[in-house]
């Protein structure tokens, strides 16, 4: 019951803050000739502010005994708040009985200061001591986004297992509720001795019985479970972070050793290695060149866009481009030559359902950085195909619906990196397709012509339960 009432504290505290500040503001205002009329309102507002602050104090007391906060901060907060109550009551008495000999001005200023300080201690208790100051200092350091990501480690094997690997995880995911000022569940984690001591339910790290360590159990519970940690609405650790914690605890939860001095099962090796990289590099559909490239000429991109080409970087923070053009009546040599000026950048090109002008296709040979080329349903023939031989990095080639023959495709064997080739609806006979398959042993060739047979059941309806 007390705890329930205590949880109203965060709601109620804002009431006296607002009300009392309004009262002081009105008091100041009533000194002006024009606003003399507000004077009668001051006393009732002061009184309601005092009453609200008393309620806030009582609920605050309940909250402080039902939850685990740093005692000294709570004490400061509490006595300051009691100060607010007393001063506001005196101010009220002065307002209804002007004969009382105290300085109104002095009291008012004192009250504002008290409210501010009390509020600040309250904020420190809920949000942590650096809640206010951190973004303030960030403002000057030029870093506009508060960065919660963990910084990469230079050499993970040389790193300290606790300080460089485990602590950053706890810091970003646990400390906000288990710190010097706030110890939810009587647990404080930013101090090694206290971390080992555990919380309300005893130790949270059990090196002898790793899987029943409370810390791991809480992490692994489903997020909607009440006991899951961190709570659902807080940032969650990633799977690899949980794996690291598990690995650390199963290796005696050491605080001093270096990573290289601790046993590393195969499973944890890639996870550790990943700590060296600033971002997790995703497997990419296109095998992009390892080196970065300068930005493509904006003017040429604009010219191409005007002609109907869709020219886009493959992703943000890369200058490699993919280019698409479909349903073009006539692709002329000039267009392809324009593409050639972006040959360093273009890694993927799709010109499909289009008609090339004579010699235009030959110019494709300049696009030496191409990884993926799609010329489906174009007027490409055997004559132009050898031009593609100079696309040394080509991995994926789509010639669906073109009039190319097996003979011409056999000449493409210089393309060592070719992984996939689509040859559906080309002039390739069945016997030739076998030949191609052996010639391109490393390439997956899709000749298509798949067939879905017509089963009797496809066209009949079931009217009653079929006999078993």
């Amino acid at each position: 019951m007390l705890e329930f009432l205590g949880h109203f504290h965060p709601v109620i505290v804002h009431l006296p803050i607002g009300v009392l500040l309004v009262a002081i503001f009105l008091q100041w205002l009533s000194g002006k000739e024009k606003y003399r009329g507000v004077k009668p309102a001051i006393a009732p507002i002061l009184l309601s502010g005092s009453i609200a602050s008393i309620v806030a104090c009582v609920t605050g007391y309940f909250l402080s005994i039902s939850d685990d906060y740093d005692q000294s901060s709570v004490n400061w907060h509490m006595w300051m708040a009691i100060g607010v109550v007393l001063v506001s009551l005196v101010l009220y008495t002065k307002e209804v009985n002007p004969k009382v000999e105290v300085s109104k001005k002095f009291l008012s200023i004192g009250l504002v200061v008290l409210i501010t300080v009390t509020g600040h201690f309250g904020g420190t208790l809920t949000h942590g001591s650096d809640y206010l100051s951190k973004p303030f200092f960030k403002m000057f350091s030029g870093d506009s986004v508060v960065n919660t990501a963990i910084k990469p480690v230079a050499n993970v094997q040389e790193a300290l297992v606790y300080d460089d690997v485990i602590k950053p995880i706890l810091e970003t995911k646990c400390y906000s509720c288990h710190n010097e000022n706030k110890q939810k569940g009587k647990l404080r984690m930013d101090d090694i001795a206290l971390l080992l001591k555990g919380g309300k339910h005893g130790k949270i790290i059990d090196v002898n019985n790793v899987d029943s360590s409370e810390m791991l159990q809480r992490l692994l519970l489903p997020t909607d479970n009440e006991k899951h940690m961190p709570p659902k609405e807080k940032p969650q650790p990633t799977e690899s972070q949980v794996a690291l914690l598990h690995w650390w605890i199963s290796n005696n939860a050491d605080f001093k050793k270096k990573v290289k001095d601790i046993q590393q099962p195969d499973k944890i090796k890639p996870v550790l290695l990943a700590l060296q990289k600033p971002v997790i590099i995703k497997k990419q559909a296109l095998n992009l060149p390892a080196t970065a490239v300068e930005k493509g000429d904006e003017k040429i991109i604009q010219q191409l866009t005007k002609k109907g080409f869709v020219v886009l970087p493959v992703a943000q923070n890369t200058n490699y481009l993919m280019v698409t053009l479909t349903d073009a009546k006539k692709v002329i040599k000039k267009d392809i030559d324009l593409l050639g000026k972006l040959s360093n950048q273009i890694v993927s090109l799709k010109i499909s359902n289009s008609t090339f002008e004579n010699e235009a296709i030959g110019s494709l040979s300049k696009l030496s950085n191409l990884r993926k080329l799609n010329l489906a349903n174009t007027n490409l023939t055997d004559k132009e195909l050898p031009a593609l031989n100079s696309l040394q990095h080509l991995q994926n080639l789509n010639l669906t619906g073109t009039k190319v023959s097996a003979q011409a495709i056999l000449q493409l064997q210089k393309l060592k990196e070719l992984k996939t080739m689509y040859l559906y609806q080309t002039s390739i006979s069945k016997s030739d397709s076998l030949k191609l398959k052996t010639a391109f042993a490393k390439t997956e060739i899709d000749f298509g012509n798949y067939f879905v047979p017509l089963l009797p059941s496809d066209t009949t309806l079931v009217k009653q339960v079929p006999a078993k």
Binding site: S144, V452, D458
Partner: protein, 501 residues
């Protein structure tokens, strides 16, 4: 002017001069110190609270559908989402439970009913064994029932999600949950998010097309492809698969293309004037939509017409030209992907097999529904594959929830046919194509298929995965609305990395 008036005038002048004397430059500076301070503070704040970096997607109201680059390298360029509205029974299709057969006809154990709520089951229902034969298929050994003989042949192309769960047991909210991330109205759908973030490559067609079959729209209505708080240009465009793809797409008699162009130009001009006055970006969207509609008059009838496909393709899909059916829509979906449409959503109604009628019986109606989709979906996968499109198209199949291992007893009485009630705790979906593992199965249900044991997947996880394949980090992909950034996956969602190739 009397003496007194003159005197008064002089007094006023004097007072004014005194006031002016007070306002020396020094006074001005002194008095405006506060204001200058505020100005300085403002400039300080603007440099620290810069939100531009937080949300990199720029919305250009005049060209809302221009192609945009995704934040990460995308594996999928397009998505075909096949939604079986009404929720197909996983226990007759993919989730093989021989143990359930042994319990067939027995009373449901109380442990499965305690504290649970069902849409129609009351009291103690009987258990219902699988009403189809199962066999393992392909090298992956995936279980597919006899109801899907064609799909079984391409099981090695699919990644099954065996333990999908949801928290909504009625059709409309559950459909909204899957497509918009909230069981209530008002959130943008997956397709809207995708077109908002990526635009579309083909400026002559909408970026997000919806096709429905089964004689009815999904229960949640058009909100499942709505744009919610995103600009309305990103909502799904529902096309018809019978007759004109879009109503009134042809110019009426007596109106030629030039006249149409002239009238649209005039309307756009009026709208442009309106925009100058009110600066409402929705007006610009409207202008661009008029322009698209004009272009679509030419492109849509061509793309949306399956008659010019060769006969062997029709045979492959089992289409019924001239009729509205799922197979036609599936073939259309392939054509649209070829044309660069970003997101294609197919809804097929009629999977709600409660057992109240023969059509809704798991051993009669369900088989017929399966026959409507089995051949064409198989054809879609193979056709996309042979055209080199499967590697850049993500195909998703599923319903809004699953069905109970118990036989439904509506109002506590026995239903005339064998059926199953709505079930939220475990059902099967599958994905195939761009960036998805081939021949894989993720997640497991208990021995009677009642609840998920491992590899539990929420709708949010599904959405996170689809966005991931399109090149988005679902946690960074936000839209500011009502003073805060909104995400499709709200505060949840984990990419199902196990099924990613």
């Amino acid at each position: 002017m009397t003496q007194k008036e003159l005197h008064n005038q002089r007094l006023v002048k004097e007072a004014q001069a005194a006031v002016l004397q007070m306002h020396t430059r020094r006074h001005f500076l002194k008095e405006s110190a506060m204001g200058l301070g505020a100005l300085a503070l403002g400039s300080l704040f603007s440099s620290c609270g810069n939100k531009a970096s937080h949300n990199p997607i720029t919305f250009d109201p005049a060209h809302p559908l221009l192609p945009k680059l995704p934040p990460n390298v995308a594996k999928a360029k397009s998505v075909i989402y096949l939604h079986m509205a009404g929720a197909p029974s996983q226990l007759e299709l993919f989730d093989y439970k021989p143990e359930l057969m042994k319990m067939d006809g027995q009373d449901c154990p109380p442990s499965l009913l305690q504290g649970k709520k069902f849409a129609f089951i009351r009291g103690v229902p009987k258990m219902l064994g699988p009403q189809a034969k199962f066999a393992q298929h392909g090298q992956s050994g995936a279980y597919v029932s006899e109801n899907m003989p064609h799909l079984a042949t391409v099981a090695d192309e699919l990644s099954f999600l065996k333990a999908v769960t949801t928290d909504q047991f009625n059709h409309a909210p559950a459909q909204l949950m899957i497509h918009t991330g909230s069981p209530r109205l008002g959130r943008p759908s997956l397709g809207s998010w995708a077109t908002y973030g990526l635009g579309t490559e083909n400026q002559n067609l909408p970026g997000f097309v919806v096709l429905t079959s089964g004689g009815q729209n999904p229960d949640a209505g058009k909100s499942v492809w709505g744009s919610g708080f995103l600009p309305s240009v990103y909502q799904g465009v529902q096309c018809r698969s019978e007759g004109d793809p879009v109503l009134f797409i042809k110019d009426p008699n007596g109106m030629d293309r030039d006249l149409r162009k002239a009238s649209i130009d005039a309307i756009n001009q009026v709208n442009a004037e309106e925009y100058k006055e009110y600066q409402d970006p929705e007006i610009l969207s409207r202008i661009s939509q008029y322009e698209m509609a004009f272009k679509m008059q030419i492109t849509a009838p061509e793309v949306m017409n399956i008659n010019n496909e060769p006969q062997y393709i029709h045979d492959m899909y089992g289409t019924k030209p001239g009729k509205a059916c799922f197979a036609n829509n599936v073939l259309l979906a392939r054509k649209l992907v070829e044309k660069g449409v970003r997101f294609i959503q197919l809804f097929d109604w009629g999977w709600d097999t409660h057992g109240t009628s023969a059509d809704g019986a798991v051993d009669i109606g369900l088989i017929n529904k399966c026959r409507e989709i089995d051949k064409c979906i198989t054809a879609l996968i193979l056709d996309l594959k042979q055209r080199g499109l499967l590697e850049e198209t993500l195909v998703v199949w599923g319903g809004e929830f699953g069905r109970t291992p118990m036989m439904e007893n509506r109002e506590g009485k026995q239903n005339p046919f064998k059926g199953r009630d709505h079930h939220t705790e475990a059902f099967t979906m599958w994905m195939a194509g761009a960036g998805i593992k081939k021949g894989y199965s993720y997640g497991e249900t208990d021995e009677i298929g009642y609840s998920a044991i491992s590899g539990k997947v929420e709708p949010f996880d599904l959405q996170a995965t689809i966005l991931d394949q399109l090149g988005f980090d679902h946690e960074q992909f936000t839209f500011d609305f009502q003073g805060r950034p909104f995400r499709l996956t709200d505060t949840r969602g984990k990419v199902i990395s196990d099924i990613l190739a």
